[in-house]
Amino acid sequence: MTEIEPLADHDTIRHALDASAQAQLEALTAEVADDPSRLGRAFPAAARRTGRGPLPGVDGVLLEDAVRVRLVQVAASSLDPDALLAELREVYRYGDSDEKRAVLHALSGAPEEVDGSDLLLDALRTNDTRLVAAAMGPHSDRLDDDSWRQGVLKCLFTGVPVASVTALARRADRELAEMVQRYQREREAAGRDVPLDVQVVLDACATSPEQPQHEQKDL
């Protein structure tokens, strides 16, 4: 009932797996299709039963993430948005970092009615760069402006490339620019290097369509 966009199409995932791993994927998929509440059982074992590592043919996507998002996609097809969200919260709560990351990727492909921003905020409270990066993907459009700006700043602070921040060009605004400039001054005062991404964010702020709106608001 709820459509989740996969990280990679089914054939691409299958091609990355040998025959026995393909059979495992089919078994996991069938289990979750039959009973979506089995998602929490299928999730932890998904990587060791199928595979892990870079997924050939899809830049920057890990096989284990693609498999887990596929499982979410299958479970979601028989769950309404609220039930899906409840299921994802449970999987995230008890997930290890890899499982948590996969939930965040699944949210990135979720429709409007699914709002998992509470999970993004949890991820942004960690210092695990893989979670921080995943939290600033497409679902970060659910974050309010203050949280989103703090997320961008955290990326700079922890070394997550801002290229992984969705809608930077659109949402960057004067307030973010000021925050980043203060961060830059602090680094310079300490005689420390300023990350190259600082300029990337400042450039985005300077050209963002958000800029005039916020100036108006501030007046």
């Binding site: 932890p44 074992a45 970092s97 922890t158 420390r192």
Partner: protein, 292 residues
């Protein structure tokens, strides 16, 4: 020398330790869930701890080029507190996870009825989840505790080869050996076992089914005791291959039975090539939030 420390509590250790361990050749480790020094009073503090073992600590170790695995259990000390007994109900969630390579530490501390109940239940979980078990032996009355441990292992139906009985010494090693279980030795600065006594045990009974660990934690302990035992073995005439067997291939063989290892068992030995002792993994270091 490539080293797999099969028992070390990294949660209590610093980033300096991670750096020194990597420089000494440590590329993989197992962190057993145990007591934190301060008794816990609720299930919630256990689940946060388990989450850290499969989350943050794994991430932290990875920054230093070390594959972090863990074991999950209600430890014998805290099994005596009724407020913590419900931890047994949340264990299955964690025992299903990648990188969780055994049920442990289980066993006895003061040989109470409550400890035995938790121990038996957790041996059942090891059977159910097809995981090895890591068994802690008591500091006091170790010989009797080890005997009762082996009786319970036999009754559980868990194959002896799936069990490591840890913190052994000259008095307890033979009964564990005869039972067919793996033998764990914690090399400490001045208590449980030292590297030279360890070498003497290896000379007497061979390298089979032996795991050597530092068991370093929040107490006086040394995370480099595995490397120091390797050096003592070489000094005593053991070959480099013997050292590799004890410090790498044995733990791979034992924990590999879980099917959950996150490290490449064939990892090349690059620690003897003079790698920079201060180098960090992929150029990243880990500080309090900041990346540099």
């Amino acid at each position: 020398m490539r080293i797999f420390d099969p028992h070390i509590h990294m949660t209590s250790r610093t980033t300096d330790d991670y750096e020194a361990m990597h420089a000494a050749g440590v590329r993989a480790l197992v962190e057993p869930a145990f007591w934190l020094g301060q008794p816990r009073t609720s299930v919630g503090s256990f689940t946060d701890y388990f989450d850290a073992l499969v989350g943050w600590e794994r991430f932290r170790a990875a920054q230093f080029g070390i594959a972090h695995h863990c074991t999950i259990a209600l430890n014998p000390k805290e099994a005596n507190d009724p407020r913590c007994a419900e931890v047994l109900d949340v264990l299955p969630r964690y025992l299903a996870k990648d990188g969780v390579v055994a049920v442990g530490e289980v066993g006895f501390d003061s040989m109470t009825v409550e400890e035995e109940k938790a121990f038996v239940r957790q041996l059942e979980l090891a059977v159910e989840f097809e995981l090895p078990a890591m068994v802690h032996t008591p500091h006091r009355d170790k010989e009797q505790g080890t005997r009762r441990t082996l009786e319970l292992v036999t009754e559980s139906g868990l194959a002896p080869g799936m069990v490591v009985v840890d913190h052994l010494n000259e008095v307890t090693v033979d009964q564990v050996d005869e039972a067919g279980c793996w033998m764990g030795f914690s090399i400490y600065p001045d208590t449980k076992m030292d590297e030279h006594r360890m070498v003497a045990i290896l000379q007497r009974r061979g390298l089979d089914r032996v795991l050597v660990n530092s068991a370093a934690d929040w107490g006086r302990s040394d995370p480099l005791k595995t490397a120091k035992t390797g050096a003592a073995m070489l000094e005593a005439g053991f070959s480099a291959d013997d050292v590799d067997r004890v410090l790498w291939r044995n733990p791979i063989e034992f924990f590999g039975q879980s099917g959950r290892l996150l490290v490449d068992p064939e990892l090349p030995d690059d620690a003897s090539t003079g790698a920079d002792a201060s180098a960090t993994f992929e150029g990243n270091s880990i500080l309090r939030g900041s990346r540099d």
